[in-house]
């Protein structure tokens, strides 16, 4: 059975499979990597690093994008 670990994504407590990369988290949420900016524990993550950055228990992810604004 897959071990799940607790993380915070956009302010919500969630669980992801242990060993998940950021890329895997985005895939599981159905998000296109090109249209998302990821902040991992307050550090902005380069898109090239989505595949090699593993999410750890207790990590905080902010997934943002552009919306309408003035």
């Amino acid at each position: 059975m897959t071990t799940m670990i607790p993380v915070t994504i956009n302010g919500d407590a969630r669980e992801v499979a242990a060993g998940s990369t950021v890329r895997a988290v985005l895939d599981s949420l159905g998000l296109h990597p090109r249209l998302v900016v990821v902040e991992h524990n307050r550090e902005i993550l380069d898109r090239e690093d989505y595949d090699n950055t593993e999410v750890q228990a207790g990590d905080t992810l902010e997934l943002v994008h552009f919306v309408g604004g003035g």
């Binding site: 902010e62 552009f66 919306v67 604004g69």
Partner: protein, 264 residues
């Protein structure tokens, strides 16, 4: 040759980038995305602002703006709207740049919830950090010439004083200070916020400023597409009137028709 191009030969240039339209539009508060896109098209603008927000992971809201606006067609200017500290504004600016579209930012640090007037000190702090990080900073500020001069000294690409509070539609409340800012700064001066209707846009451009950034006046019009066209003409009319130079104001009437040759 196009009459408008002949009449206003110089483009708006910000940080080396040329814009033929002097109107910049916000993309917030439209009733639908479809209406927003049609209004933007109708306005003739080449630059639109966008905000950085969390993705709604439950997808109860609309998808991101990039599903609706082609960044190849319109230059996207990320903003730091909603930020109340320099630290937050810098964080949002970096997130906006990380989207990979440009290193421009509309810097906005709010100091008061009721008036949404800028926190001048925090704006200056954030501008200094962002300029050092290589951002092209277009700074929203009040109509205070001292702050405007400091923002220019810090290396902002454009200084953007308000016409009146954000979303108020009160129009240009202080033409004198806007003129003063324009006459004292060498960088582009874009009036940002407060314009309510086309005549406000014209009056604002008549002060000689380089452009106008607006959102609510178009988005909250009964017919945003029609208002977008009105704003396009309003901005052009004001620009041309400024370039043409208005006649002097006189306290007495002067007839327009000859006073000679009248019948006995």
């Amino acid at each position: 040759m196009n009459v408008q191009v002949a009449a206003d030969p110089s483009p708006l240039v910000i940080a080396g980038r040329e814009f033929r339209s002097r109107l910049i539009l916000g993309t917030g508060k439209y009733r639908t995305n479809e209406e927003m896109v049609r209004a933007i098209e109708a306005s003739g603008t080449e630059m639109v602002t966008v905000a950085v927000r969390r993705i709604d992971l439950d997808r109860t809201k609309e998808e991101g703006i990039l599903y609706h606006l082609d960044p190849e067609r319109w230059f996207l200017l990320p903003n730091t709207a909603g930020c109340y500290t320099a630290e937050d504004a810098v964080r949002y600016a970096r997130l906006g740049r990380a989207a990979g579209i440009s290193d421009w930012v509309k810097l906005e640090v709010i100091g008061d919830q009721r008036t949404l007037l800028p926190d001048v000190q925090a704006t200056l702090e954030a501008a200094k950090i962002l300029v050092a990080e290589g951002f092209k900073v277009l700074a929203y500020t009040n109509e205070d010439v001292v702050t405007a001069l400091r923002l220019e000294d810090l290396g902002c690409a454009a200084v953007m004083p308000l016409a009146s509070p954000i979303g108020s539609g009160l129009g240009l409340v202080n033409p004198y200070f806007i003129r003063e800012i324009k006459s004292r700064l060498s960088c582009p001066v874009i009036v940002d916020a407060g314009v309510g209707t086309a005549s406000d846009a014209t009056l604002t451009m008549e002060q000689g400023v380089d452009g106008i950034l607006m959102n609510t006046a178009v988005a909250e019009a009964q017919d945003p597409v029609r208002m977008a066209v009105a704003m396009r003409y309003g901005v052009e009319a004001g620009r041309l009137a400024y370039l043409a130079g208005r006649m002097p104001r006189r306290e007495v009437a002067v007839p327009s028709s000859p006073t000679t040759g009248m019948l006995d």
